[in-house]
Symmetry: C2
Subunit: 337 residues, 2 copies
DNA sequence: GCTCCCACTGGAAGCGCTTCCAGTAGCACT
DNA sequence: AGTGCTACTGGAAGCGCTTCCAGTGGGAGC
């Protein structure tokens, strides 16, 4: 239907002229705003189609002071944090929700100094209508930036040592407690944990859940055996646990990767799973299903985290005041425990 | 150093006034452009710092007609395509390269109709300075959009049935050939392949490489046994192959996920790897290293793909004319072959 | 037939920046 | 002193859109 092929992209002025209306009317017609007669609305529609007009988002952004974009900022030293399937899922959820609100997604990695500087600029220049923040570390400089920000900020997970105004998290304590209770219910009494990095809130929370469950059952919790959420670190931690507590009969790993690593070490050590040692993971990623034996684990609604973060941000951008969200987890029993 | 705390963000006008210069001079000073005396340059610097001035990127974008953003568009029905660690790595590489060029990254998923419409709008409205396109299918509507686009477009991998003007790909044919040759060199003569989706160029290319190597060795290539790049599909394909060709002694899987699935099926079928059946994968993802036995595979520089795509795009945005890139692969020998 | 009201209209003023261009000043040379 | 530079300078015109506001006309009500 686009008939003319102008070298320059048509502007609203040209649409207005072709439609025989003023630019104001054309603008209003375009945005389904009131105060435009039926006839002119139609004329504008025609002109738009004839010229193949598409509004210039930059100009619109300048006039409305809304960029039409939300930023997802991922902190952390290691850029390969993205490789974590966890993030991929959050991303998918967030993208879906932003699509509904017709916002774009700007992805930022605050790993290098340069990266952090760019994020700071994003905050200070209002280069996005709002920001979703993930994977903050203890004393993360992003925390300060978020505090000083003049636009809405939603946290994914809680940062260490602070409860932000708006966040979406999963019930890490509850999930870890349920996992540990499951081990105890299966008759295990010498249950250890491979916990995640204790400089993250998720690492701490899952250890807390383990500890709570042990104490509640009158058992003695072991001190944290720390891993960094990778398969390799899980294997190493398991080896350390076996060395220090040869008699253990249950392990709660703070995520599936480490759980899989633990399985590997146990297999190599000749311990049968679950007969000798029962293992429970956390996350319910693909690796849990494929592990040998398939890993009993705590399912968390990862896409929902992304989706709810985005929805919360959209609500904030629209001037609402949503409440923080803690999503429930659910134990998925497979063969390892 | 920011002394005044204005409710409104300061504008360039205010900076200029405080520095005692005109807005033009202030603008030039800010952008390190010529025709500004040393003294005024310094005065502007001072004013910027005193006011805590940060330029408004939207206004700049409108004036320069450059958005300062590159888009990464991922096609495909299934949003969980992101969960593929492959994409995560590409993303990391692209982000790093864009950071160098001081461009932002807008991530778009063209999975739903709505998503595709938004991408089309992005193209037509020039909502980005350039676009990186990935995971196109046969007759993908994105191909047409890319052709009609008025901004630079770089392809990641090649679409089926067309060679785009600018793309970054890995040497899929060569890698697959090398993998198959490795099996043949190990004395395997009844080598099958679990190929990827044949409606993607990567699926076809890897099958072609397998076929070439077989023919070159005077062996008869088997018809493609298709999977969809998932572990599950690899396991199923392996089962089908065992049923149809019980005597096979080698398998080239078109990616590591399917290779791992094949290992699972072989283990279940009581075939020893590599003694009875040797297996080679493709990608060299984490799963290959962790597989049992560790998977011999074709390494491809995934981050480099993202990095080079972004660099190529930056070059195009800067008016250069880069040449397409095909990155080399490399066989990584582990225990499975 | 006259007033009043209201839906609609379009001119104009922005949004905050870049950049063209017509100057202006200062300086070294004739 | 006059010329021709070079190096800066700042006014002004955009970039393409939204939105305020002062009309304008036509219909309803009396």
């Amino acid at each position: 239907m686009a008939e003319d092929v102008p070298r320059r992209r048509p502007t609203l002025d040209e649409v207005a002229e072709l439609a025989g209306v003023s630019r104001s009317v054309a603008s209003r017609a375009l945005n389904d705003a009131p105060h435009v007669s039926r006839a002119k609305r139609e004329a504008v529609r025609q002109a738009v189609r004839r010229l193949g007009y598409v509004p210039n988002p930059t100009a619109r952004a300048l006039a409305t002071r809304q960029t039409g974009a939300a930023a997802l900022v991922v902190s952390g030293e290691d850029p390969s944090i993205f490789a974590d399937p966890f993030f991929a899922q959050v991303l998918v959820g967030a993208l879906a929700a932003l699509e509904e609100a017709d916002l774009h997604l700007t992805l930022c990695l605050a790993a290098s100094d340069r990266g952090r500087k760019r994020v700071e600029e994003l905050f200070r220049s209002r280069g996005a209508d709002g920001v979703m923040l993930m994977a903050l570390r203890e004393n993360d400089p992003l925390t300060r930036m978020a505090e000083e920000a003049t636009m809405p900020v939603v946290f994914g997970g809680r940062p260490v040592g602070a409860v932000p105004r708006w966040f979406v998290d999963v019930d890490n304590v509850g999930g870890a407690r349920e996992a540990t209770e499951h081990l105890i219910a299966r008759g295990r009494t010498r249950v250890a944990t491979i916990c995640g990095r204790l400089d993250t809130e998720v690492g701490r929370a899952r250890y807390r859940g383990y500890r709570d469950a042990m104490l509640a059952a009158g058992l003695e919790p072991l001190p944290p055996q720390e891993g960094d959420f990778t398969e390799r670190s899980g294997a190493a931690a398991m080896a350390a646990l076996l060395a220090g507590h040869p008699g253990l009969d249950g392990v709660f790993a703070a995520n599936d990767n480490m759980g899989a690593g633990a399985l590997r070490t146990l297999r190599a050590a000749g311990r049968a799973v679950p007969a000798d040692v029962a293992v429970v993971g956390f996350d319910d990623l693909a690796v849990a299903e494929v592990a040998d034996p398939p890993l009993t684990t705590v399912h968390q609604p990862i896409q929902a985290v992304g989706r709810e973060m985005a929805r919360m941000l959209v609500a904030l951008v629209n001037g609402e005041d949503p409440t923080p969200l803690i999503l429930p987890t659910r134990l998925v029993v497979r063969s390892s425990a």
